[in-house]
């Protein structure tokens, strides 16, 4: 990882690229940096595409990026900058602090997120910090991020939800779980939906993985000899072969039988890119059992049969 810290390189100014579709705003920002030696505005862009072009040629230290712009929006531009390996730090400067703007920008690689109503002192401080690679978040944005991080998991699972989750982690189908708890399958499903919402996941495989990574379930809690975890998804494309064949075929390098005989499960990359790391996470967490989920379909079995080739 390259780490440029231009602010510490003697007296060289911090090179700033201003990106905003409003000329008046650009002028104002340029004015805020003043004539002093600390900052140098090396360029201005009126949209994301121009910003990417200029950033690649001008090599600024910090890009001040608006989000809503014609031609190419700010988030796309940030993504493009990262894709091109542009080392500049991106400081988002926008009027919006809603989730739909903040999170994608941060995910795309923005170093900081300021609102346009920030005093110019704050702005200069933020640019300085961004040039050093420090994260700068407007307080409302920071609060939003924190609540976002907390909200999916803040609500604790009830005892009954933990029971349901434990059964699911043990590879139990809804029907079996219902029989075990002596309730209706409909209620098991309802519990599951609440569990998903609380864990911020959308399927049972992810719920199991999340529960393990949060320590809500421990491997010992349902370690049944001879049964092993795997998370498996049927491919969305099909040619009539069974899932075992598919699983063998798709087993990625290094994903073979776990050292204790466990399998691994996986989804097609085309199906859900996120769940594979989750599966691994579950395995690393020592999850020893069998839980499978396809989008809507559950396969249960002893994984030793699966890896018996």
């Amino acid at each position: 990882m390259s780490y440029r810290s231009p602010g510490t390189r003697g007296d060289k100014p911090i090179r700033v690229l201003i990106v905003d579709d409003h000329p008046v705003v650009r002028d104002g920002l340029r004015g805020a940096f003043g004539p002093g030696p600390e900052f140098e505005v090396v360029g201005e862009a009126g949209d994301g595409a121009e910003a990417v072009r200029l950033a690649r040629s001008l090599r600024p230290d910090v890009v001040l990026m608006d989000l809503r712009m014609p031609v190419m929006d700010g988030v796309t531009a940030i993504t493009e900058l990262a894709r091109h390996g542009v080392a500049a730090r991106v400081l988002v400067l926008t009027t919006y602090d809603t989730d739909s703007y903040v999170l994608p920008a941060i995910e795309a690689g923005a170093t900081g997120y300021l609102l346009k109503d920030a005093p110019s002192d704050d702005l200069l401080r933020a640019v300085r910090a961004a040039a050093h690679g420090e994260s700068v978040l407007a307080p409302t944005v920071a609060a939003r991020l924190l609540s976002r991080v907390r909200s999916p998991g803040q609500e604790p699972l009830s005892q009954r939800e933990l029971e349901v989750l434990g059964l699911v982690a043990a590879g139990t189908t809804n029907r079996e779980a219902a029989a075990r708890l002596f309730i209706s399958e409909a209620t098991v499903k309802t519990h599951l939906l609440h569990i998903y919402a609380k864990l911020g996941v959308s399927d049972r495989a992810a719920a199991v993985a999340e529960a393990f990574s949060r320590g809500l379930l421990t491997p010992e809690s349902r370690n049944e000899p001879g049964r092993r975890l795997f998370l498996l998804a049927r491919p969305v494309f099909g040619n009539g072969r069974g899932w075992r064949e598919r699983e063998r075929e798709r087993r990625p390098v290094g994903a073979g039988p776990h050292r204790d005989g466990a399998v691994v499960g996986m989804r097609d990359a085309s199906d859900d890119r996120e769940s594979q790391p989750r599966a691994w996470h579950a395995l690393r967490g020592g999850c020893p059992v069998e839980a499978f989920e396809d989008v809507g379909e559950i396969l249960v079995g002893d994984t030793r049969a699966l890896i018996g080739d």
Partner: protein, 164 residues
């Protein structure tokens, strides 16, 4: 139980007094106890989630549902075991009545299901914006699930969650 006892006099008689002094869970337990005594079939009553007040209409509807479901079990199921589960979720309360009796084929929903008084049961629950699910299979018992939406639970951390 005589053929037309359900939903008969005893059912009506139980309703107000059972709820007057007790929480729904306790009222259900009282109903279950009496039913078990009468039929000789054990009933396990379970309450899960955070118990909290719900509207008298919802309480009444769930109690009636439990009574009618139990009456059905007594009449048709030849069960050896019944589970009555009251689940308080964040935004709904669910009553499950499950038995291990002979079950039936719920597919012709207006046939057997209607004949078992499920239509009235469903209407009562749906009248409170709830849903009634009936799961059954010949030989594999029956589960009735009545869900009624309720006010969301307090979001404060101190709203402790009661265990199962």
């Amino acid at each position: 139980m005589s053929g037309n006892a359900w939903p008969g006099r005893s059912v009506h008689a139980l309703r107000p007094e059972a709820l007057e002094t007790a929480l729904l869970g306790e009222a259900l337990a009282a109903v279950a106890d009496r039913w078990a005594e009468r039929t000789g079939v054990p009933v396990q009553v379970t309450t899960t989630g955070t118990v909290r007040p719900i509207t008298p209409e919802a309480e009444s509807a769930l109690l009636r549902t439990a009574q009618e479901a139990l009456a059905n079990v007594a009449k048709h199921a030849a069960a050896t075991r019944v589970g009555l589960t009251l689940s308080y979720l964040d935004d709904e309360v669910i009553l499950d009545v499950r038995d291990d009796g002979r079950g039936f084929d719920p597919a012709p929903a207006t046939g057997a299901a209607g004949g078992f008084g499920l239509v009235a049961m469903r209407q009562r629950i749906e009248g409170l914006s709830g849903t009634l699910d009936v799961e059954s299979e010949p030989g594999l018992g029956t589960a009735i699930s009545a869900r009624i939406p309720i006010e969301p639970a307090g979001t404060s951390a101190e709203s402790a969650r009661a265990g199962a």
